[in-house]
């Protein structure tokens, strides 16, 4: 609850700070606000389940942990913006303000107890993203991406709202606990209206986490948006979205698991196939990461579909591992593509990394570790993420789904390793890239965390 209040106010403060002549205060201020939010987040730690705002928002250790992952990711991403100093048209105050507001939306969909809260949260998050996607106003692709995102997002919102309405019609309540008690009393005998409502609501949410066949916006939007905001979308929106799906299904709809799991399983497998297989053909690293984010949505869906006692921990760990690795991969991409842009050619393909290791061993190493983690190679956090996810599926007995998942992670190695091969084995003429000290610290910390959680995943459980 506290981060929601805090960031709503501080977002406005950031907007006001934008009136000052010197823009240099914005970045440190925003980072400070994020740290404050993170600190306030833990006020409710270990208090059990607490309800706020007329029982519309729930706070427990799970939602706080998700909040923390979102905040840490946001901190890293904001730190990597470097105040947007190198872009003349940029409006740093507005960007930071919108990012902070979007985090408020993320907290709401992580902790919602009331479907209206979910809806409002998703809208806050989505509208922020539409704006940020189109923030590069002079770039046609950015504009196109924003418009596409907005059109399809509006469509998905409509579907979702319809689903919420049907659920209300069936149960007479927006409250998750009320719905839960309704469903458990009725069992499989609930009305078709509830089934339809649940499916439509799920579809709306699956759209947000880019599950197939509702993923079509993802590659175009991720590719068109400025890379920094792509990073934001692919980590924070995804983490929050999965928290929301997991809470909905685990809280209210476990009694009718036998109804929804098949649909979700089919979507999971489709998502895994689409994400991984299309990624193979991509020549653009950024576009590959877009497909990679679809495929990781697939892995996370495995955990949700199996809904075992391990799922909660698996989703948390996976989100963290995925977010850190994605942030460092995009971090390296931004540096390299900026260097390329200065030399006169915009290049976000694999070939941009050719020969990276020769003069920039740190960047090449960071890239390699993040790719290994995304591919799920042992001794990185990504391996344990997959391990926990697969473990929860085994507990539910969904072995056939695991076979697909394992095959697809083998496919994943192909496109992740292409980046490592480019960086280490290919010849290229990338000169020394200057990295700002703070940026370097973020990259090193992210890489260290990936390796640390890879060596000792138990640390994470200790933290909880």
């Amino acid at each position: 609850m506290y981060p929601i209040v805090l960031l709503s106010v501080l977002g406005i403060v950031v907007l006001f700070l934008g009136f000052m002549k010197s823009k240099s205060v914005l970045l440190p201020a925003t980072l400070l606000f994020l740290v404050l939010a993170l600190a306030s987040n833990f006020i409710d730690w270990n208090q059990g389940k607490v309800l706020y705002f007329y029982e519309m928002l729930a706070v427990n250790n799970l939602t706080l942990a998700f909040n923390a992952i979102v905040l840490v990711s946001a901190f890293m991403i904001v730190a990597m913006t470097r105040g947007f100093q190198d872009q003349e048209e940029a409006q740093p105050a507005e960007y930071y303000g919108i990012m902070l507001f979007s985090l408020v939306g993320a907290f709401m969909i992580i902790g919602y107890e009331h479907l209206i809260m979910l809806f409002v949260g998703i809208e806050i998050l989505s509208v922020s993203m539409y704006i940020l996607t189109g923030s590069d106003k002079s770039n046609l692709r950015s504009n196109e991406a924003a418009l596409k995102y907005f059109l399809m997002g509006a469509f998905a919102t409509g579907i979702m709202l319809f689903g919420i309405a049907l659920l209300y019609g069936a149960t007479g309540s927006f409250n998750l606990t009320d719905i839960q008690s309704y469903v458990s009393i009725q069992g499989r005998g609930v009305s078709y209206i509830l089934y339809a409502g649940l499916l439509l609501l799920l579809i709306g949410m699956l759209f947000k986490v880019s599950a197939a066949p509702f993923h079509f916006w993802t590659p175009d939007v991720y590719d068109g948006a400025p890379t920094i905001f792509t990073t934001f979308m692919s980590t924070i929106v995804k983490t929050a979205g999965f928290a929301a799906i997991f809470r909905l299904l685990s809280h209210s709809f476990t009694p009718i698991y036998s109804f929804w799991w098949i649909t979700l399983a089919a979507i999971t497998v489709l998502t895994l196939l689409v994400g991984n297989i299309i990624a193979v053909y991509q020549n653009s690293f950024k576009r590959m990461l877009a497909y990679s984010s679809i495929s990781h949505a697939g892995y996370l869906l495995i955990a949700v579909t199996s809904l075992s006692p391990q799922t909660e921990n698996a989703i948390l760990f996976y989100s963290l591992a995925y977010s850190i690795a994605t942030i460092s991969a995009f971090g390296v991409l931004m540096l390299v593509s900026k260097k390329k842009a200065l030399e006169g050619q915009v290049d976000e393909s694999y070939a941009a990394f050719n020969g990276l290791a020769a003069q920039n061993p740190l960047l090449a190493f960071v890239l390699a570790v993040s790719m290994l983690s995304l591919a799920g190679i042992p001794l990185t956090a990504g391996f344990w993420g997959k391990f926990f996810v697969f473990g929860s599926a085994v507990e539910r007995g969904l072995v056939w789904m695991l076979v697909v998942a394992v095959l697809m992670s083998a496919v994943g190695i192909y496109y992740y390793f292409r980046a490592i091969i480019a960086a280490y084995l290919k010849e290229g003429d990338i000169g020394k890239i200057r990295i700002a000290p703070f940026y370097r610290i973020i990259l090193v910390v992210a890489t260290a965390m990936t390796i640390l959680f890879g060596l000792a995943p138990g640390i994470f459980e200790k933290l909880l």
């Binding site: 499916l199 579809i203 079509f216 496919v411 192909y414």
Partner: protein
């Protein structure tokens, strides 16, 4: 005894390894030797302190646990050290002899370009060897076991620009791996049977089993397979002579004094299990005796100074296993100790000779060196007398104890053992006479270059010579008026074994006169063999035939080491290579087809699926609607 003190023992060589290993390009040569030697000496000093503390505390064994290492299901493997009589004795040998050889190496390897690398490996070896002897369970022992194998590989192939040396290194590694597989299977069987790998726990449970329990026989046989690899016994002994490709201090430390005795250490450590398996012990005794004889006979005709010593080592290890086979565990350990002294001495002496001869190793081109290398000569002489088993030098006491136990167990083993010891005495004195007596047979340049080695090399020789001469007095048998301090010291180790098989540990049935007789016979035999060597190589001044000359059939067979290498090549290496080539071409064709086919399939699929991403929003929304309709239709109408 505090854990921090114990940890220092293996930690110091590890630190030495890290310093020299990471910084060997930057650290000045002078410092490298000092760092490496200090690490070994420090470890020795701590070991001495630990030994004192152990004796003061009433000689009670203890396990010092450092941390929980592996916990899987019911099985828990702690990282802990066991300090008892056996590990302390091994500690003293490893760190004591190890330190001397480090000091020696500082002189011997001074000119070598890989000086820093050499000391790094030597320190690393010490670290693993210490883990091996200090570990309180089979898994830690196995880490050390593998680690010393690795270091042995690295050091045999130390001069890695020579292909033959690399092949020798690889041979050693592969043969050791075969043994290691047996050891590993043994450990697995132990886990399966006892549910633990901790020595104390395994042996506590084992005492409840009957003698001859089939599972224990299997376990001990598997463990023994491991021992034959590491301790160069039939059929896995051929790597050790080839291992002489490494620098001489390596031969002395790893391939004579310490690593090769790991197999014996392991058997003594597991004495409860072995005592429970008389069948295995029989195998151990037979293999040990056969190895002792075979290797000694090959040693008779070798002309390379290090090869002679290598075969001698194999043969002496055979004696140790003979002792184990007749359950004379203390006698075996006694021989390990004395052998460590005199064989390290002989190797280092040989190194000193090679150093003086500018790298020449063939004894046919030596001779008359005693005047030019007086210290080397005297110490080498002491070593030779010690290994030949002539009293009162160290080898006499230990070897005689083994032979006495063999006599008690089985007269045939004793006769064979005696035969081996006659050969030992002959080939050792042959080596001594050909090297140090007569006239110089090398080139003029070599003669000009001859010199005694520097102090850093002669000092370890002198120290080892003193121990080779006097070391036997730690085990003077009762019949010669001693109390056999070593056996008394070690006796608590066999409590478990004594419990399961009291008969095996009964007091000797030999009368004093019988014992005197046995000693007399072996001493006279050794002296006669030495005399024979004197007559042939000093009086008649004969020199072994050059390579080109035809030899009589029997001599030829022995000279070519019974063609065992060729046999292994024909029976194992060639068929495996053929099979490997066959599988390779199969893999090239079929497996590549499947693998590349899958890759191509995915890529083609990807190319097609990619077309779904058209870029048109209308199409995207249409696809989504189709998806939604399908989901709703299937869920709400079809189910």
């Amino acid at each position: 005894m505090s854990a921090s003190l114990l940890v220092l023992i293996p930690l110091l060589p590890l630190i030495g390894f890290l310093i020299n290993g990471i910084g060997f390009r930057r650290i000045p040569r002078g410092a490298v030797g000092i760092i490496g030697s200090l690490a070994a000496l420090g470890s020795f000093a701590v070991s001495v302190v630990v030994l004192m503390a152990f004796k003061e505390a009433g000689s009670t064994p203890q396990v010092v646990s450092l941390f929980d290492w592996i916990s899987v299901g019911e099985l828990s493997i702690p990282f802990s050290f066991q300090i008892d009589q056996l590990s302390l004795l091994m500690l003293m040998i490893v760190t004591g002899v190890g330190s001397l050889i480090h000091v020696y190496s500082a002189g011997y390897m001074k000119e070598d370009e890989g000086f820093g690398k050499f000391f790094a490996f030597l320190n690393l070896f010490l670290f693993f060897m210490l883990l091996l002897v200090m570990g309180s369970n089979y898994v830690i022992m196995f880490i050390g076991w593998e680690g010393v194998g690795l270091c042995s590989y690295l050091l045999i192939g130390f001069w890695n620009k020579n292909t033959d040396y690399n092949n020798a290194a690889r041979k050693a590694f592969i043969m050791n791996r075969i043994g290691d597989l047996g050891f590993l299977l043994g450990i697995f069987t132990i886990i399966g049977t006892f549910g633990s790998v901790e020595f104390t726990e395994v042996f506590r449970q084992a005492t409840g089993l009957p003698v001859g329990d089939p599972v224990v026989v299997v376990i001990t046989l598997l463990l023994f397979v491991g021992a034959t690899g590491k301790s160069a016994q039939i059929p896995l002994f051929t790597w050790l002579p080839d291992a002489m490709a490494g620098p001489t201090p390596v031969s002395a430390l790893i391939h004579a004094a310490t690593m090769v005795t790991a197999g014996i250490y392991m058997v003594i450590r597991s004495n409860v299990l072995f005592t429970l398996a008389p069948a295995t012990l029989e195998v151990v005794a037979i293999i040990g005796t056969a190895t002792a004889l075979l290797a000694a006979s090959i040693g008779l005709l070798q002309n390379d100074i290090k090869k002679v010593l290598a075969y001698s080592t194999v043969s002496q290890l055979g004696y140790m296993f003979l002792a184990l086979g007749v359950m004379a565990y203390s006698a075996s350990m006694f021989h390990v100790i004395t052998h460590a002294f005199f064989k390290a001495l002989l190797f280092l002496g040989a190194g000193s000779v090679i150093h003086a001869m500018s790298g020449e190793q063939d004894i046919r081109f030596m001779g008359g060196l005693r005047k030019k290398l007086p210290i080397t000569f005297i110490t080498f002489l002491i070593g030779t007398i010690a290994i030949a088993g002539i009293p009162p030098f160290a080898g006499f006491f230990s070897k005689d104890e083994i032979l006495a136990h063999a006599f008690e167990h089985n007269k045939v083993l004793w006769v064979l053992g005696l035969l081996g010891s006659i050969m030992t005495s002959f080939y050792m004195f042959r080596l001594l006479f050909l090297t140090f007596f007569g006239s110089f047979r090398g080139t003029h340049e070599q003669a000009h270059h001859l010199h005694e080695s520097p102090t850093s090399m002669t000092l370890p020789l002198i120290v080892l010579a003193v121990f080779s001469a006097l070391g036997g007095f730690m085990g003077v048998p009762e019949v010669l008026g001693g109390t056999h301090q070593l056996a008394t010291f070690m006796s608590p180790l066999y409590e478990g074994a004594r419990q399961v098989n009291p008969a095996a540990f009964a007091a000797t049935t030999l009368s004093h006169s019988e014992e005197y007789l046995l000693m007399g016979i072996s001493v006279v035999a050794a002296l006669v063999a030495a005399l024979a060597a004197y007559v042939v190589y000093v009086r008649r001044d004969s020199v072994p035939a050059p390579e080109t000359q035809e030899r009589p059939a029997l001599q030829r067979v022995i000279y070519h080491k019974y063609y065992i290498d060729e046999l292994y090549d024909a029976v194992f290496v060639k068929p495996i290579r053929t099979l490997s080539a066959l599988l390779f071409s199969f893999g090239e064709f079929f497996i590549d087809l499947v693998v590349n086919g899958t890759g191509t399939l995915v890529k083609v699929l990807s190319g097609q699926l990619r077309r779904t991403q058209t870029g048109s929003t209308g199409y995207y929304i249409f696809a989504m609607v189709v998806g939604i309709v399908l989901i709703l239709f299937w869920n709400l109408l079809l189910r």
